[in-house]
Amino acid sequence: MRNVGIISVGYTPVFVSKRKDVNIPEMINEAVDAAFRNANLTPDDIDAITFGNMQTFEGVNLPHLWATEYCKALDKPYIRISTGGTTGMSTLQAAYYHVASGMHDVVMAVTWEKQSEGDSQVGLSGIVMPEAMTMVQHGMDLFGGKGMGFGGGGSTGAAAYQAMSYLHHSGASPEHIDKMASLERSNAALNPYAHLRKKTTVEDVQATPFIAWPLRFGHTCPTSDGATVAILASEDKVEKIADAVAWINGVACCTTDPATGNFIEGQITDPAEQEGAKIAAAKAYAMAGIKDPKKEIDMAELYNGFAHQSLMWLEKLGLCDEGQAHVMLDRGALNIDGELPTNASGGVFSTNAIGASAMNRPTECALQIMRKIEGGHQIPKKIKNAVSHGWGGMFQYVTVTVLGDEPRHG
């Protein structure tokens, strides 16, 4: 199989709650140009473009068509990917397969969201709109809590159930969620491309009100405007046109079922079980030749719409034993200078332009490996292998990408 590497990353200059100064494609274009600028590449170097976002968040159908010129995509092969929260990494993996297949040599992946153009609460509830209506027709008390089947969890939705189930099975306490939140927000404060950039103490987190026990406001992600672009190249092209590279050594994805949203046909799995993450991680590690992720993985970028998820994913992705994540947190192992720096970027929990959220995980890993991190969150130790993770759908999609400082051998 052809080896493929990330040779450039471009972000919009900022990720904020409202970009009032530009329209959608103008914002996307900022990240596209940054990706070219950062690696001294031009549109002529690009063979094909993959593009991803969640279109109901802006209400524009197939927005890649409107954005063609702004993605410098005119006259080029072009494809649009969308898989919910995992969209960003699915779009990166699509670019990976464009190269790994031998069809193309240099491919650009464009991911973004401009959530201020719509109402993300509505966009998310829109996932189960017809099913929820069916339940209501059958007497479900949608928010009142009477009867069977109402969602629960307030604006956190089923994430609160997931958090409680996770705490119960892992032995972690709600205070560990506060602690993880404070760690990631403090990391974000060092990251110029993070949205919420205020150094945050555990006390600051604990001062925020509960939405649905055990989750507080301080445990939830923002909604952001921003775009992220990555340029991928085949091994032979890397030698010719790149000054730095992070290799994509393992890619995998898995879907379970709409675990928390299939109201009308039976919810089948524990939202904290996440079997799909174990399946996808095992595949990605095997592809990357990683035998013992606990030992071989040097950093993790995990998709965490809610702060408890960072701890949960560490366990699901085999980076520690079940129930050990909070122990690692307590001994500082997850800090930027720890054994397994986790979400040094601040995570989705601090920056959430949703279509780009699962892309910012591997791009953060790539920049850490290339040692091209802007701001103060460069991981001091050398990164040989990094794992990035995306999560979405109705809790059912998982994508995993393993990156390395050297290409796969054999």
Binding site: M1, R2, N23, M54, Q55, T56, F57, G59, V60, N61, L62, H64, L65, W66, T68, E69, A73, L74, D75, K76, P77, Y78, I79, R80, I81, S82, T83, G84, S90, Q93, A94, Y97, H98, A100, S101, G102, M103, G126, I127, V128, M129, P130, E131, V251, A252, C253, C254, T255, T256, D257, P258, N262, E275, G276, I279, A280, G392, G393, M394, Q396
Partner: protein, 383 residues
Amino acid sequence: MRKIAIVAQAQIMSGSIGVPRERMLFDLVKGLYDNVGITRHDIGTFVLCSNDFEVGHTIANVFEDTPVGAYMKDETHVEADGMWAASYAAMRLMSGNYDTALVVGNSAGATTFRPYLVMDYQLNPTYDRQMGLLNELSTAALQAKAYLDKYGASEDDLNEIAARLLRNAAMNPNAVQSKAGATAGDVLASEYLYEPLRQLQCYPRTDGACAMILASEERAKELTDKPVWIKGMGNSVESYYLGERDLASSRSTKMAAERAFKMAGLSDPAKQVDVAEVGAKFAHQEPILTEAIGLFAEGSAAKVAQSGAADIGGPMPVCPSGGGIGAYCFSAAGLVRIADCVRQLQGLAGDAQVSGAKTAVAHGQDGFCAQHNAVMVLSTEEG
């Protein structure tokens, strides 16, 4: 590069499907597995194709995974015409990471959503959507007019094309708009929408789905004795802005076809292609697309229409299925064009069979006036 073949296809289309989308998908895909003699566990990667604005909820594929057998499996989702899903699935196989793929596209444009409204959502919301001038039909009419004016073709030529497609559709069990023995007069008798566009020159609202199994060389030969090889793939996009495009021709289709034929090693498509299935949504798009693909001379619509060159028995049969005039299943449309080519190349096209068809070309599109086009070259010959 690794050889990839299509093992089998299944499609269902209707003017009113009447069953839940998930159930439609389960029945279609289960039938396909049984037909090929495999189970969901034989599929390495699932590539789905649907659109939030068509299914009417966020994350279109959320409830599509389990009905196609993807539970606890490797699944991803293309949100564009089905042609892109098929080519992406082929790339996933070509990488060597997988040996089998299931591609499924679905859309319920007759029952659930309104196709012309969903096209409105493609308009630039900061200008075109505010102006309210451009829509699926007015843009199509401008494209038709541009072609007629540039090449001196007549509205009667467009009616002849539509009539031929309606006749072909009458032989396709999946067609939702058809008329045995249709004539140009029948099309002429249908209402003007935007001149020169008439009702019977347009695609009908369609519910349906299409599924196909792709496999690597080794697996394909194990699963079928009639593999259809994907010999070439290409796609290209042009400007969103109609005012900056030559609407009488399709630059992006031309580039897509050149890429696909180069990969397939075809030097003279007009001679080497036995049958074409193009994703024309309107009668006038057929000449624009087939000329761009290189099957006919530029501006030859009149000659082709009047000579019957594109008839099933003619020298260059186009859309023996009835094409987009017979049924146009939005997100699945391009996938259906591939599936119809597979039916031809596997000799399963019934009365519409093009005898001795060995090489076929399929086309799919997205956008206003076919802004984004993809072409796939298929053959019975492994080569």
